[in-house]
């Protein structure tokens, strides 16, 4: 160090940036749950713009630089398009509840199963692999399109992509851990018009993915105690349900926010819900749906083998009813419950007929 050469002029210190800082004197303090994102939403740093013109990727509250490049190309720049009130909570919870499929699942509890049950489990795992692909790919696409001024919501989506990667990995592991293998793909998650993949609006995507799609899957995961044949599977479904509940909560809370802050979009959202509801029982995306071959696998798992298919099928109907009931609760919570009373939605009829 002492032999350092004489520095060129350009290495002289420029401290002009010191006079161009954002709001100064901020001292956020850790709360009961540590120093969470909610604790640093203070002063100007907590002020959310209704519409943002930040196209440079500037952190919210930092001083803009007039000559900065506009590299953002952000399409989601209105608060109502992406926001939800509990984003900080969901993100922090996601961090606290991360788990490892390698070490947190008691894989040693898996014992050889009868062939029909193993095949049913492997079919379901193959299906869930595809489902988790969608739930990871699609939110990822929206991250770079969303202004970093709304980073809290974006962080929840990033946590979701991580969760889905883990789900994909745990179902693949289960399929290959007990003398089985992957089976034939369902193809149910492909890019048909009106599907999660092709949505060109974030709220449309979220309505399909978080509320109807993941909502239906969440109900299934919660039935893991019935489907699971051993502690490894039961734990796998329980942990996945915990993650999935956060994703569903994102959709519900976002829709609620949109409903309150952009009421003019209500009629449009009702149309997305119409489409989703037409598919919820008949669509192949629902593993417990009436047309899905995964339904047969589920009946085998729930009944305890092909020999008890009828009993399993009866339990499957319970799942279907529960899916519909939970869906209605979520949509009501999001502020769109009227559709179940004014005759617009067919879900109450589907619920009544789901025996």
């Amino acid at each position: 160090m002492s032999e350092a050469p004489v520095r060129e002029q350009e290495h002289e210190l420029d401290t002009s940036w010191m006079d161009q800082m954002g709001e100064w004197g901020i001292k956020a303090k850790p709360g009961k749950r540590g120093l969470t994102l909610a604790e640093i939403q203070i002063g100007e740093y907590g002020e959310l713009p209704e519409t943002t013109d930040n196209m440079t990727g500037r952190p919210r509250g930092a001083t803009p630089r007039p000559e900065a490049y506009r590299v953002g190309a952000y399409g989601v720049r209105n608060l109502s398009e992406i926001w939800l009130e509990n984003a900080t909570f969901l993100y922090e919870e996601a961090l606290q509840r991360q788990w490892s499929s390698a070490t947190d699942i008691p894989w040693h509890t898996i014992e050889p199963l009868p062939d029909d049950i193993e095949e049913a489990e492997c079919l379901l795992c193959t299906f869930f692999n595809e489902v988790e692909f969608v739930a990871g790919d699609v939110p990822a696409r929206w991250i770079a399109k969303t202004s970093p001024d709304f980073f809290e919501a974006r962080h929840v989506l990033i946590a979701q992509v991580m969760d889905e990667a883990r789900h994909m990995d745990v179902f693949r592991k289960r399929a290959l851990a007990n003398g089985g293998g992957l089976m034939r793909m369902s193809g149910a998650t492909s890019g048909f018009i009106g599907s999660i993949d092709l949505a060109r609006d974030f709220t449309e995507m979220s309505t399909r993915l978080h509320i109807s799609g993941e909502g239906a899957v969440l109900t299934m995961f919660r039935m893991g105690e019935l489907m699971g044949q051993n502690d490894a599977e039961k734990r796998m479904y329980r942990l996945c349900a915990q993650d999935e509940a956060r994703h569903v909560a994102f959709g519900v809370m976002h829709l609620r926010f949109l409903c309150e802050h952009a009421p003019e979009r209500r009629p449009e959202i009702e149309c997305y819900l119409d489409e989703a509801e037409a598919q919820i029982m008949a669509g192949l995306q629902n593993p417990a749906g009436t047309q899905a071959e995964t339904s047969e696998a589920l009946a085998i798992l729930l009944g305890g083998g092909k020999a008890h298919y009828d009993e399993g099928h009866k339990m499957l109907l319970v799942i279907r009813r529960r899916q519909l009931k939970e869906y209605m609760k979520r949509v009501q919570s999001a502020g769109f419950g009227e559709r179940f009373e004014n005759g617009r939605s067919s879900i109450p009829e589907q619920y009544a007929a789901a025996y």
Binding site: I40, L182, M223, R238
Partner: protein
């Protein structure tokens, strides 16, 4: 809400009394058409010393990673295809466009080494710092937020275009994006926790270079990890050495761990691409010739250098002497690392190194 949802979990579902419908009449006859449809059956992977890891699953056909994956659907690797499925826009379908042998191991490592800024960083160890030093660390945190933001935006731009034949890479990149989110969070928290605030945004020349790299993921990796990433690692190391308290020590040591994984993937991928794709080395030479110039300009004109010097020098006065010298030595280390990595990857840059970077080699 999520708590409630998660808490309700399974037992409530099992005992849902009002869901008990009437006796089933006429259960539809199952077809069982799906039974027996598998490419390979009888696989029994066992957990090893470190649990059941992603890499352990690469047995039989499930471990066959093709050079080219022409399936545009979401078929899991090894599963049986189904005809008639409409394609999805998976544009990266060749192994050399994204592969690195270490991806599966890095994925598991990322999960094991997760950390939580809210509760694990010892925020109570922060003490007031001299005003100039606090301004410097806050400016540095602001720019690091932008580095991490650029990284997660370019990864998520490409992630959805990567086909499922190479899912290990997609899985690893999900962890890398999550790491970036955590870095943004930790740097923002540090800037707002000790009487300071955020600084001024960067002009963003290198950010633009990374975000405009649309010629393929390999091009993005070149700029993101070989150029910017190697420099960032040099900065993290200097900052760890100069940490003022346990909170900063925790943040920088964990960022180094995370970033080291990203760089390991990046370097490994570039080597794979150069080794397995004819002409890739020449393309990288061209990209780096452009990239070095942009990097050199940012090093010369950006605010990071001055902020680092003030921090390393303990204030403006020290920043003009020992602080700037320490920083320049750090940049010299970055350029030396960069040259050594280029050599290892198969893209030697020593002879054609841009003079704007070459000048740091004297430090």
């Amino acid at each position: 809400m999520a708590d409630k949802d998660a808490g309700a979990a399974v037992p409530a579902a099992v005992s849902a009394g009002d869901d008990d419908g009437p006796q089933v009449e006429g259960v539809p006859e199952p077809t069982y058409e799906w039974m027996g449809l598998s490419n390979e059956w009888g696989v029994r992977v066992k957990p090893g010393e470190h649990g059941l890891r992603l890499g352990d699953l690469n047995v039989g056909i499930y471990g066959e990673v093709p050079e080219e994956w022409n399936d545009h659907t979401r078929r899991p690797r090894g599963a049986l295809p189904r005809p008639g499925i409409p394609p999805l826009p998976y544009n990266l379908r060749r192994k050399h466009e994204m592969w690195a042998d270490c991806a599966a191991d890095l994925y598991e490592e990322a999960i094991q080494r997760r950390w939580i800024p809210a509760t694990e960083v010892p925020w109570g160890s922060l003490e007031p710092l001299p005003e100039e030093v606090e301004r410097a660390i806050c400016q540095i945190c602001t720019e690091f937020c932008q580095y991490a933001n650029t990284e997660l935006e370019i990864i998520t731009y490409w992630q959805g275009q990567m086909s499922y034949g190479y899912f290990e890479v997609k899985q690893f990149l999900a962890t890398a994006t999550f790491d970036c989110a955590r870095h943004i969070e930790a740097f923002r928290k540090r800037a707002l926790a000790n009487g300071g605030g955020l600084g001024i945004e960067q002009r963003g020349s290198v950010n633009r270079m990374i975000l405009e790299s649309r010629g393929g993921w390999t091009e993005s990796v070149t700029y993101l990890y070989l150029l910017r990433g190697t420099y960032t690692m040099a900065l993290y190391r200097m900052l760890l050495n100069a940490a003022h308290n346990d909170a900063e020590r925790f943040i920088f040591s964990h960022c180094i761990e995370d970033h080291a994984r990203h760089l390991t993937y990046g370097y490994d991928h570039l080597k794979y691409a150069v080794t397995h794709h004819v002409g890739q080395d020449r393309i990288l030479q061209t990209l780096l010739a452009i990239g070095e110039s942009i990097m050199g300009t940012e090093l010369k004109e950006g605010t990071m250098g001055s902020a680092m010097a003030v921090l390393l020098g303990g204030g403006i006065e020290g920043g003009r002497t020992i602080g700037m010298e320490t920083y320049l030595h750090g940049v010299g280390d970055f350029v030396r690392d960069y040259l050594a990595l280029g050599e290892w990857i198969g893209v030697p840059r020593e002879e054609n190194l841009n003079p704007m970077l070459k000048k740091y080699l004297v430090y």
